[in-house]
Every structure is written in structure tokens, then in C-alpha cells.
Symmetry: C2
Subunit: 266 residues, 2 copies
DNA sequence: GCGATCCCTTATTCTAGATCAATAATCACT
DNA sequence: AGTGATTATTGATCTAGAATAAGGGATCGC
């Protein structure tokens, strides 16, 4: 609703974080500015509007709610909340997690700009995990009932949303394989390469970026402890494959990282 | 196409396996008979036709191809095959797997009657895994382009297919948690309980069934070795929670199994 | 019905990564 | 700028489950 009065500070933070992340140091990725329309959003070719024509994008625009930016740690929704919407990340990043009975969380996913959050709630009508902002972030909310209605009118949108969900399924199955048979080093290398190509997708450097999540988040996601993640990072650094400095990371030898994960070099 | 001439033998096998699996010993689950329509299929309330009215089911019926039954080991499709269809299991069971570079497979999923196979191919237009019959099985093939067209006409179908995909996503994320933080015993117990409720869903006994897959399949699925799966089975048996005899299994203490997995008793 | 192959179990050893512990660095708040 | 809280690193043990090995059963193909 009222999103205007925080813009000054937001833009500063935004520009700061993106300058660090971006090799060229000049381009700006989808600012936190809430007024931007799908038609003019830098992410429109990766996000929901993909494959839609101008009129269709306008129709989509109508149902998208551009919420007030989220601060680090803010929740987008919590486990068991009623499912109403899916969300598209406009800037920043998010993590999804579930709480085990022992109280400690297990991270089920990370979300970067242009990616869709919340599809786990579609079937049961309740979100099956909690999702939290990892940094100052902004989001587009798409009420699902309206998305369904619109998909019904726009075959392109239906087709594309099926594809987005199918992609999520394929990705989840890859992670299944990763967790069920890869070593700690293989998991970590694969994770870094995955981040790399996701940053590349939004035109950020694939070799130099900030990790928005903690080592502990990475560990919970990969089924490893913090200590192991940290150890693997230093080991990879010693081997000259990466350069880590706290949250800043540079992948200095993509080929070697790919070799760790498996064969395919694409 | 020509499915008639094998029916005699099929029905026998079918009845045999289902008698063993089924407590009541009388009801018959969706026979291999290929001529059955969605309207008269015993699974129509669990499978795609759910939430469709009679006219709609008839329309769905038109696009469903009822293929010749598959023998144990037959492939439904292979990794990288062009994606054309999703499949609904009518009888029998299937496993999906990917081959690692070292040649050994890793199982990514098992599919029982009423469940949908192949959604991992939707996004990339190629199947990301291979899927193989675990026993004599029959399948309904649903050409995806036609399913999309029909979904566009029938909001109910679109809604339901979104739900099916959402369910797959939620399930995959649960497995993510399972693999990243549960012990061998917890994984195994959870796996057995999962099978139990899936059998219950198709009105078979939730406490007594045949495992259609090998110990090795289970191990690959759960990220464990065959030996560990075997050991856990005998351990659970010694504790009196299950009764295993080769592929035959009885869950003799559901409560205790649930207690191993976590708290929730529902 | 018989051999070959695959599947399952059990015992023994070994290791990757967890756990425990302690310190250092960084961040968030006043 | 200072203080407490979170986050990261590194080292020393410990253990769950992998790897190896080997025998007995089931199942399949002929």
C-alpha cells in the first residue's frame, strides 16, 4: 500500500549492494522502486511476463501487487499460512525453510531476482514452508486465483506457468540426486555453480558475487554442517578454484569446479 | 495399439499380485484391461479426472492414449528423450532414475497407481530422467500439448493440474528435508509410511503390501547403501515395528514408526 | 527343472563428515 | 566507538554409515 516514504534509503542500499556484486559496476538490476510495471521491469524476460505480448503483459500487470520492500529477516509468509499468492523476486533474495521438531530449521531453497516463490502451497492451499528475506528485498505478489483466471484467458501464460512449475520439479529432482549421492565437496561446488548461472541469468557476474546467505544456511540446504561448508570453502580456496572473503566470493576456475561436480561442461 | 491378445495372462498376473497386496482379498484395483475409460476407471477420483464432471471426463477420455501394458523392466521413456506426454499409472509401479557419470543410477522417484509421471520434462521439453516399470504395469498416456489445450477449455482441469504439479513440488521439498537431515532409520521409516499412505489412497492395505522395488532401489532413493537399508529393515523387525519377508512387508506398529520420523501423528 | 544371475543379509573394517570446543571476525545497536 | 550477538574458521575427536567381503536365497531364462 504505502510504499513511497522509504524510497530514499532503499535506493542507496540497493545501489551499494549492486555495485559490489556487479563486475561492470554500472548497470542497475531492477531497483526496489515499487512503481515499475512488468512492461518496464528489467526482469520481464526471465520472470512471469516471458513469452507474453504487450497487451498480455498489461493484463498481467493489472493483477500484480507490488508490495512494500522487505527488510532482512522479514517473512514473506510462514509455514501453514493460508496460500493466497505466488511471489516473484524483484530484487534481493530469500530463503525458504521448515522447522524440524527439534526447533532447528532446514533450508529448502534460495530465491534470486526473477524467480518464483510459493508454489509449494498450491496443492494443499497452505504454504509448506516459511520464507524469509535474506537482505533488503522487493517482491511482486501475484494472487493465485487471479493468475489462474488470467492463465485461462491467455494460453501463453498458462503454458509458461506450467513450464515454471515443471522447471521447479526438474530442479528439485536434481537436488534429490545431489543430496543422495554427492560428497560434501561435490555438493558445495555444484551449489556455487548453480548460484553462478542464476546470477548470470539476471546479467550479473557469474564469477564474482556476494553470498546472500550464511554458511549455516548453505549447510542446512546441502545437508552439511556449517563447519564442513567452511572447511570445503577453504579447501577450494587452497586449490585455487575460488577466492572467498566472508560473503564475497569469486569463482576463479569454473572448469575445475565443473570437473568436481561431474562431466558435462556446458 | 493391439492390446487384446495378451489379456488372458495379464489378468491372471494382476489378480495374483493384488490378492497378495490386498487385505480384503476381493476388490480389484484398476485391471490392466486397456479398454477401460476414465469414466469407469476405479482411479478416477485420484487421478486426472478428479473434480471434473461427466462431460469433462469424456473430453479428457478422448485425448488419453491407453497403451499396451509394460513388462517389468520396460522403459516408459529415457533420459533426454523428447518430452511429449505425461503418464498416469493405471496399475503396477514405476521408478524414475538418472545415471551418474560413473554409470550407476540414482533413483529419483517411485510411482504407484493414480500418480502422474513425467512432469520433469515440461520445462525443458526433454525428460530429465529415465522411467522404468518395476512389474507388469499399465499406463495412460496424456499428450501434453493436448492436455494444455484441454486445460485451456476446462478451468477445472487447469486448476487440478496446477494442483498436481504443486503437490509434486511440495513432496520434493519434503524429500529434500528428509535427505538433508534425517538419519538412515528415520529415512527408512518415513519411506515406509509414505508407501503406506499411498497404498491407502488407492484402497489397498496401508499396513501390508509388497515392495515393488529392490533394496538397492530404496537405497538409491534414500541416499543409503543396500546394506544399510537391509540392516535397518532387520533392526526395525527386531524392534517389532515391521515384519519383512523378502518383498512382503507388514507395518505392525505405525505409531512407533511415526515416532521415529517425528512428532505429528496424523 | 536347472544353472546363472541378480538380490538380500550379515560381519568387519574404514572414513567422510558430524560433534565438540575454542577463538576470531563481523554485524547490529545504542 | 563500544558492546553483545551473531557468524566464520580451525582443530581434535567420534560415529553413522560406507566399503569390502562373502555366503545363502530368490528369480529368470532356457
Amino acid at each position: 500500500m504505502n510504499t513511497q516514504n522509504i524510497q530514499g534509503k532503499d535506493s542507496m542500499l540497493d545501489e551499494l549492494s549492486l555495485t559490489i556484486r556487479n563486475d561492470s559496476g554500472t548497470q542497475k538490476l531492477c531497483p526496489h522502486n515499487s512503481n515499475i510495471s512488468c512492461a518496464s521491469c528489467r526482469l520481464n524476460e526471465l520472470c512471469l511476463p516471458i513469452a507474453l505480448n504487450k497487451t498480455e503483459i498489461h493484463q498481467l500487470d493489472e493483477i500484480v501487487e507490488r508490495n512494500r520492500p522487505l527488510k532482512k529477516g522479514d517473512h514473506l509468509y510462514r509455514q501453514n499460512d493460508e496460500f493466497r499468492s505466488v511471489f516473484a523476486v524483484r530484487s534481493g533474495s530469500f530463503k525458504s525453510y521448515v522447522l524440524s521438531d527439534t526447533g532447528q530449521g532446514r533450508v529448502t531453497g534460495f530465491y534470486l531476482p526473477g524467480e518464483i516463490i510459493g508454489m509449494d502451497g498450491i496443492a494443499s492451499k497452505h504454504y509448506s514452508n516459511s520464507t524469509q528475506s535474506l537482505e533488503h528485498s522487493s517482491i511482486c505478489e501475484i494472487p493465485f486465483s487471479q493468475l489462474e483466471k488470467l492463465s485461462h484467458q491467455l494460453p501463453n501464460l498458462q503454458h509458461h506457468f506450467f513450464a515454471i512449475m515443471g522447471n521447479e520439479i526438474a530442479k528439485d529432482q536434481q537436488i534429490h540426486t545431489l543430496l543422495s549421492s554427492y560428497s560434501a565437496e561435490e555438493r558445495t561446488a555444484s551449489f556455487l555453480l548453480g548460484l553462478s548461472s542464476r546470477y548470470a541469468r539476471v546479467s550479473l557476474s557469474p564469477t564474482r558475487f556476494l553470498l546472500p546467505m550464511t554458511r549455516s544456511d548453505i549447510g542446512e540446504y546441502l545437508g552439511l554442517t556449517v563447519e564442513t561448508v567452511s572447511r570445503i570453502f577453504t579447501a577450494l580456496q587452497k586449490k585455487g578454484l575460488i577466492e572467498v572473503n566472508n560473503r564475497e566470493i569469486e569463482l576463479t576456475d569454473l572448469e575445475a569446479l565443473r570437473a568436481i561436480v561431474g562431466v558435462e561442461t556446458c
